[in-house]
């Protein structure tokens, strides 16, 4: 086992935009990779989390699978971080919260234009939707929040380098954005 810091990442009800932004650290990734090792993440294709130091969660909680994934991360990560607007307040997916779930599902699978073989999917393999999209801190304890849609590459860099160098992470004014 290497003594690198282990980082896991995932996207729940999100668009992977935060992950894309993370990769925007560009050549700094070479520096980072000297210090960290990626565990479960879309970057590695590892399917389940093992013990990690940091978990980065993008997206809110919209279905039962999101809850399970979030719990897996909480269980395995010493530090869990809400990354981006959706993880912090539900974000754009939460804009469905003002439409009853029943109406959403009926529009998509029953009454919508062009729907064929109308039925609401019921395969037990599929996760069920929650009535509302929730921020992740309403399901598990979250240690840090990185706002932004997405947080800029510099936010990831500042946050991770603070942690790696043993400082309490903090974001200066320029890096705090909700958009």
């Amino acid at each position: 086992m290497s003594n690198k810091i282990r980082v896991a990442t995932t996207s729940l009800a999100g668009c992977f935009g935060c992950h894309m932004s993370f990769l925007d650290i560009d050549e700094r990734i070479l520096q980072l990779i000297e210090l960290v090792e990626f565990d479960r993440s879309p970057i590695t294709d590892i399917e389940h989390c093992s013990n990690c130091d940091i978990g980065l969660i993008e997206g809110g909680v919209c279905n039962s699978e999101n809850v399970h994934v979030l719990r897996e991360f909480r269980k395995n990560c010493k530090i869990l971080v809400a990354v981006g607007a959706c993880a912090i307040n539900g974000g754009l997916p939460a804009m469905r919260n003002f439409i009853p779930l029943e109406d959403c599902l009926k529009e998509a699978y029953i009454d919508g234009i062009g729907v064929e073989n109308a039925q609401i999917p019921n395969d037990p393999e599929l996760p069920l939707l929650l009535d509302k999209v929730r921020p992740i801190h309403e399901v598990v304890k979250i240690d840090y929040f990185l706002p932004g849609c997405p947080p800029s590459a510099d936010v990831f860099w500042k946050f991770l380098t603070d942690l790696l160098e043993g400082r309490e992470p903090s974001l200066p004014y320029e890096l705090v954005h909700y958009d």
Binding site: S64, V67, R71, K75, P100, L101, E102, L105, I120, P121, N122, P124, E125, L126, P127, L128, L129, L130, D131, K132, R134, E138, V139, V140, K141
Partner: protein, 593 residues
């Protein structure tokens, strides 16, 4: 409708300050305020329709959509709960075929909760179209159901349904010897007005609403204002749950209260007075109007009062269901026909009150005491009580005791001796001063009723050992969230957050951090709120958290974190639509380890 409203507006002399009275009358006639009525009133009073809509949506007794022809409200005060509110509401729902919070499909009857109706010693209580219904029991519910189903008009209902008792158990300094008609005014004129104000000063009388500002000082400040158009207001918006002494004072001692107001007018030089009567006490309205007429007849109101060059009269203004209007500046806003939102201070009402005029606002009991002091002198009053709390306090005692009712005790009386008087044994604790006051435990019964120890506007609610403190706190916390006027952020949002956070803990979904979060939230609301409502809204939690931390801790799960909502319930709709009930279609609230 046009003619009805036209007549109403003429009766109210096209005064926009009478908006509340006009809207109350429209509500009574049509069971809501129709759109056309709003338009007509706006036009004729020359005020924006938004002011009218704002007022309707602010006050609980006014509605934009129809209530039943018989609008039944059940008092949701903790004291009514102690007396079986829950059971009687369920029985009402069953008999009347209407759910709480709904209007029956035929539009005949509606049922809803309402904040404390001030019938705490004779609950569970309710209101029908605003009129008090004490002592509700199954037999009465049967009777009421029959009357409603036969659509018998309210004025043909048996009068005993509306009989409200005084339950005056212990009379002291004031209640044992009411003054004779005109006695206080005559005494003041005989002694001289400045001399009478000095007597009031030396009496040490402080406001009986709870805050305890010195009455003579307030009157003096007002009298010193340059604007000679001064106003006297009697605050009878007795909304603090558990308080009902003003109802009794106005039922039985109204002359003395009005005389106290008239005395104040003489001392400060006011011509106009208002009694702001809470809507829940509208059963007293006609009686009080008659008493005012009687006083005019007797030359105690109107022009040349007692032959002196002194003109003063009193108008009664009925509230419409808003606890916040007990706050003096919110009350003044309400008197002006607006939403009851507390003003920024300064300026204080004594300099700029009703319509910007110097205004004295005092509690019913304060005016009553002032009248007696004018007769008997300051020393007589100052002789009783403690160094800083002179005279007596009239308490509304209710909850778990054998003799609830009105008790007048000298300031400085211990809680234990009051409990002994009213037959309270096996006591767990007492809520002094209502939800905004303090919960004291049975280790503290040597404490005293006094401004310097336990201040109270009169509310005194006793709980026995079988009561659950968290149920009590929950009731109070929901009350404040319901009654917050919404003006300032910390109270508007904070009281609702507080309600939800307490619910989470009480419903067993709290974890270690949740009590810490609760207390933090309490502190922000207490420190940052605009008025007394917000500043005291967290008291039920803070005073019990201080005394019974273990009660809160016992509610918590032994885990570090608990979701903020019911996970499995959040899947219910999706489960139903997908017609699934397999293991994967459910979520455990906490992860199995």
């Amino acid at each position: 409708m046009t003619a009805f409203i036209q007549h109403l507006i003429e009766q109210n002399r096209y005064q926009s300050t009478h908006l509340l009275a006009i809207l109350r009358a429209v509500q009574a006639q049509y069971f809501y305020i129709p759109h056309e009525a709003i338009e007509q009133i706006a036009q004729q009073l020359d005020i924006p329709r938004t002011q009218i809509i704002g007022v309707i949506e602010f006050y609980s007794f006014l509605h934009l959509s129809p209530r039943g022809q018989y609008d039944l409200l059940i008092s949701d005060s903790i004291t009514d709960h102690l007396l079986g509110k829950h059971e009687i509401t369920a029985y009402l729902e069953q008999q009347l075929h209407v759910k709480l919070g709904e209007v029956r499909a035929d539009g005949v009857v509606s049922l809803a909760n309402t904040s404390c109706t001030g019938l705490c010693d004779q609950g569970p209580a309710g209101l029908v179209n605003g009129y008090a219904l004490p002592h509700l029991d199954k037999a009465k519910v049967d009777q009421i159901t029959a009357l409603i189903n036969l659509q018998i008009p309210l004025d043909a209902w048996p009068q005993d349904l509306f009989y409200v008792e005084d339950n005056l158990i212990k009379a002291g300094l004031l209640l044992s010897a009411p003054i004779a008609l005109g006695e206080a005014l005559q005494a003041a004129f005989n002694r001289g007005l400045p001399e009478t104000l000095s007597e009031l000063d030396s009496s040490g009388l402080r406001g009986r609403g709870g805050a305890g500002f010195k009455t003579a000082t307030k009157w003096k400040f007002c009298a010193e204002e340059a604007n000679a158009d001064r106003i006297v207001v009697c605050n009878a918006d007795e909304g603090e749950p558990g308080t009902f002494k003003d109802r009794v004072l106005l039922n039985t001692y109204a002359h003395q209260v009005f005389e106290g107001m008239t005395l104040c007018a003489a001392l400060i030089g006011a011509k106009q007075g208002f009694l702001y009567l809470r809507g829940e006490y509208c059963h007293l309205h006609e009686k009080l109007i008659a008493i005012l007429a009687e006083r005019r007849q007797a030359g105690l109101l109107g022009t040349q009062i007692l032959g002196a060059d002194f003109t003063f009269d009193i108008e009664i203004c009925l509230g419409a269901g808003a606890y916040i209007c007990g706050e003096e500046s919110a009350l003044i806003e309400s008197l002006e026909g607006k939403m009851g939102i507390p003003r920024n201070r300064p300026p204080y009402p004594v300099t700029q009150g009703y319509l910007g005029k110097p205004t004295v606002v005092n509690n019913v009991e304060t005016f009553m005491a002032a009248a007696r002091i004018a007769v008997n002198g300051g020393a007589w009053f100052a002789n009783i009580g403690t160094d800083t709390s002179k005279g007596s306090k009239i308490l509304s005692i209710c909850g778990d005791c054998t003799q609830p009712g009105i008790y007048e005790v000298p300031f400085g009386t211990s809680i234990q001796s009051i409990l002994d008087d009213c037959g309270a044994t096996d006591v767990l604790g007492v809520q002094i001063g209502g939800p905004s006051g303090t919960f004291i435990s049975n280790n503290e019964f040597d404490r005293l009723i006094a401004f310097e120890d336990l201040a109270t506007g009169g509310s005194f609610i006793i709980f026995n050992q079988h009561r659950n403190i968290l149920d009590i706190v929950n009731n109070f916390t929901h009350f404040f969230a319901h009654e917050s006027c919404g003006f300032c952020t910390p109270c508007r949002v904070g009281t609702s957050l507080l309600k939800n956070q307490l619910d989470k803990i009480i419903n067993g979904h709290g974890s270690a951090g949740d009590v810490v979060a609760l207390e933090e939230l309490c502190q922000v609301i207490k420190k940052q709120s605009h008025c007394g409502l917000g500043q005291t809204a967290a008291n039920p939690i803070l005073t019990t958290l201080e005394r019974y931390p273990e009660l809160y801790q016992a509610q918590l799960k032994k885990i570090s974190y608990e979701p903020g909502f019911d996970l499995d319930a959040a899947l219910e709709t999706a489960r139903r639509l997908a017609n699934r009930d397999d293991a994967g279609a459910h979520l455990a609230q906490i992860e199995e380890s």
